[in-house]
């Protein structure tokens, strides 16, 4: 009898240990504004979590993914996060919207919860309350500055217009862009805000009148596609060259703009769907397995996979190194992801000087490499080798 009780006890103990759960929480715009980005992003996180559990990427732990739709509304994002903190005690928060993330900075700082947002707003990793926020790839500001550098190499003294989303997300790079343009000898002839006009004739004619030779977009793919189509309709597609930051391009833009996207330049850290890397092979596999259709064709799906992969990798390292996974050990594992311990999942490019993903307490941008890609024959094709912006840190931090 005693032996039986002991056996039962050991079995229960074993089951308890085998059933340890670690949680991550994501809230994003699955519906509502910017859901063209948020939809594939959330789908990718869900798919990667299933993959992680199936492959037992975190030995001894079951990953509980809390994926919620906040409809791009800050109160919803706040409530979802606080619910998770009360009930699931997540190790990490995969945030989404710029406005919500900016509003939640102080809460994240107070509860010491690591956050890996989809938003790449530079303000998220600028003081104050920035200790626990980590951007998977370069910031919007750095991307725009990199595009300006590319323009300056192509044509000295060019006239450039900025067209940005009418939000903190869109406006973030404007100040840095102005400073960079001054350094590069470019002229910023206008800054326009566009959240999705269906007819951009007035916008384009205005920019034409001001002599704009380039348009740099900081937006999502939908508005940019409309502008490209209108530029083609007006015959301005040969006269004004258009470029954009991460959320403007990818297969979403090609699908929406069609042949009007030809010649569009895109600053991106992500590999394209056609490239053969471990990460992109996994992307194609998971998208097909989960019937993601057009969602799985998007680079935003890649972005979601990357965020989830970083989170899972940090959890795994926390378990190995500290024997438990919580927000404290997750943070320590994440900031230890550098040097020979950098993370190379195969989703984003790496430069000659830096690995794919690396974080420290002071360096809170994971993937620093960027490429410029151009639409040729209906596909984005890299036209530069991976690089980092030479000017961004100077214009933003003054050093």
């Amino acid at each position: 009898m005693k032996r039986s009780m002991l056996l039962i006890g050991l079995t229960l103990l074993g089951l308890a240990q085998a059933q340890k759960t670690v949680s991550l929480v994501h809230s994003g715009a699955i519906t509502g504004p910017t859901s063209d980005v948020g939809g594939p992003y959330a789908a990718a996180i869900e798919d990667y979590c299933k993959y992680a559990n199936e492959q037992k990427l975190i030995p001894g732990y079951t990953l509980n993914c809390i994926v919620r739709d906040d409809q791009y509304q800050n109160p919803n994002a706040q409530r979802i996060l606080e619910e998770a903190l009360d009930r699931a005690k997540p190790a990490v928060y995969l945030g989404y919207a710029t406005g919500a993330m900016l509003a939640l900075k102080s809460l994240i700082q107070e509860v010491k919860l690591p956050a890996i947002p989809a938003s790449a707003h530079i303000g998220l990793i600028d003081p104050p309350d920035n200790t626990y926020i980590f951007l998977p790839t370069s910031s919007y500001s750095e991307q725009v500055v990199a595009l300006l550098e590319h323009i300056a190499r192509e044509k000295k003294g060019a006239k450039v217009a900025l067209v940005v989303h009418p939000s903190a997300f869109g406006r973030a790079p404007v100040e840095d862009a102005r400073k960079a343009a001054a350094q590069l000898g470019l002229s910023i002839v206008d800054v326009q805000e566009n959240g999705g006009s269906l007819d951009n004739t007035a916008l384009l004619r205005n920019l034409e009148q001001k002599g704009a030779e380039y348009i740099v977009h900081q937006n999502v793919a939908g508005p940019v596609a409309n502008i490209l189509k209108d530029a083609k309709r007006l015959g301005l597609d040969k006269k004004i060259k258009q470029l954009g930051a991460i959320y403007t391009g990818g297969n979403d833009l090609i699908r929406l703009a069609g042949d009007a996207a030809e010649g569009y330049l895109w600053a991106s850290s992500y590999y394209t769907l056609e490239e053969d890397t471990p990460g992109m092979r996994l992307h194609r596999e998971l998208a097909a397995k989960n019937n993601r259709g057009t969602l799985g064709q998007s680079h935003n799906y890649t972005a979601g996979l990357l965020a989830a992969a970083i989170a899972v990798e940090a959890m795994k390292r926390a378990a190995q190194r500290f024997g438990r996974i919580d927000n404290v050990t997750f943070y320590d594992a994440l900031v230890g992801m550098n040097g020979p311990n950098a993370f190379n999942p195969g989703f984003v490019v790496k430069t000659a000087n830096s690995p794919e993903i690396d974080f420290t307490k002071s360096e809170q941008t994971g993937g620093e490499g960027l490429r410029v890609l151009e639409v040729k024959g209906g596909k984005f094709v890299p036209i530069t080798q991976p690089f980092t912006s030479a000017l961004f840190r100077k214009v933003h931090y003054g050093k």
Binding site: I30, G39, D69, P75, R79, L102, S167, A168, R171, T294
Partner: protein, 358 residues
């Protein structure tokens, strides 16, 4: 002999009786019980549940203001969120220098001034034309904030309050602390709202709404009354905005957009235009509907049988959220235009005439 506990058999035979807020002791007791319940409620809830309550109460204050402007004065306004924003940004700018019990009234006052200014078109235009004027202000507000570096161009401005009279406020008690502040403020605003409508200004609002020419003939000034309606409505919104700024620890422009203004109108309609109870029921209904649909969406996502029926790649669960919001508005407009308040009125009528059926 008047029955002090029930209205059955009591006739209102004086002006004071006709305008009294509490006609019987039972009404006083019922309100007292409600307040006690509201005070004790957070002790039984999680932080995130208190968070939802806080949003409901803040929105209730904003909708109270909308019920002055739209419900009682009959002036359509789709700029309530902008007035909230004026209050919130005023608080954000003043918070480093003044305590919250001064910044919030300051924000309310500034919002009231903006409300009076925005109300000027009401002197000449009515109905949908006036709605367009308030819509214009809503868009001008968002546009302006987006271009003002002093307001971070719509990005986050932190609003922190770490302690109050030595009481430390942090994550663990932040929601609860602000619940009581917001509840106290809401009670004050309801008392003010209710008493406003008992006085001559409140009656002037109703008269101007019903027939401004007749009101003018009777000696009321329709223009000044309308401006007052806008100012008071904006004042309430300013209070709500100030509370929201502190509660969310920051001010971002996304909280004060046209979609929010439309949401407040929806809350007012669902709750019942021109009523205190509706101002409380509307926000509660909308917010808990959102929560309910979110839970329902999660259930659908997790149900394998349903997932097998839905075509691959179609996210039915997530689409339910926006669908339900629009559907509820339409259903209320079709079948219960007087809102949830009418259901409350029916329930209350039963007890008012008790023990008789009518």
């Amino acid at each position: 002999m008047r029955n002090p506990w029930a209205q059955t058999g009591n006739y209102r035979t004086s002006y004071e009786q006709d305008t009294t807020i509490f006609a019987t002791y039972r009404e006083i007791v019922s309100v007292g019980v409600l307040l006690v319940a509201l005070v004790l409620l957070p002790q039984f809830l999680e932080r995130s549940q208190v968070l939802t309550l806080n949003f409901i109460l803040i929105y209730a204050i904003a909708v109270l203001g909308l019920n002055i402007t739209t419900g009682y004065a009959g002036l359509i306004s789709v700029g309530q969120a902008a007035f909230m924003g004026v209050g919130a940004y005023t608080v954000a700018l003043a918070a480093p220098y003044l305590p919250f019990y001064l910044t919030i009234p300051l924000g309310a006052a500034v919002a009231a001034v903006f409300g009076a200014i925005v109300g000027i078109p009401s002197l000449r235009v009515k109905h949908l034309y006036l709605a367009l004027a308030t819509l214009a202000f809503q868009e001008i507000f968002v546009w302006s904030v987006g271009r003002m570096p002093a307001l971070a161009q719509g990005a986050s401005i932190p609003v922190e309050m770490r302690n109050f009279l030595g009481y430390e406020i942090g994550f663990r008690n932040h929601n609860h602390f602000w619940y009581y502040v917001i509840l106290f403020t809401l009670v004050l605003m309801v008392i003010a709202w209710r008493n406003l409508l008992r006085g001559k200004y409140g009656r002037a609002l109703v008269a101007v709404r019903d027939n401004d020419r007749a009101a003018d003939a009777m000696g009321m000034d329709p223009g000044r009354t309308k401006l007052m309606a806008f100012a008071l409505g904006a004042l309430y919104a300013g209070v709500a905005g100030g509370l929201l700024a502190y509660f969310q620890r920051s001010v971002v422009i996304e909280e004060f957009t046209l979609a929010k203004s439309v949401g407040f109108l929806a809350m007012a309609i669902v709750g019942g235009l021109g009523t205190v109870v509706g101002s409380l029921l509307g926000p509660a209904f909308i917010e808990y509907l959102r929560l309910l649909m979110e839970r329902f969406s999660e259930w659908i996502k997790g149900n394998q049988v349903i997932q097998q029926v839905i075509p691959p790649g179609v996210d039915v669960a997530s689409a339910l959220l926006p669908l339900s919001f629009g559907l509820v508005i339409v259903l209320f407009l079709m079948f219960e235009p007087r809102g949830l308040y009418n259901w409350w009125r029916l329930v209350r009528s039963y007890f008012r005439t008790w023990p008789f059926k009518y």
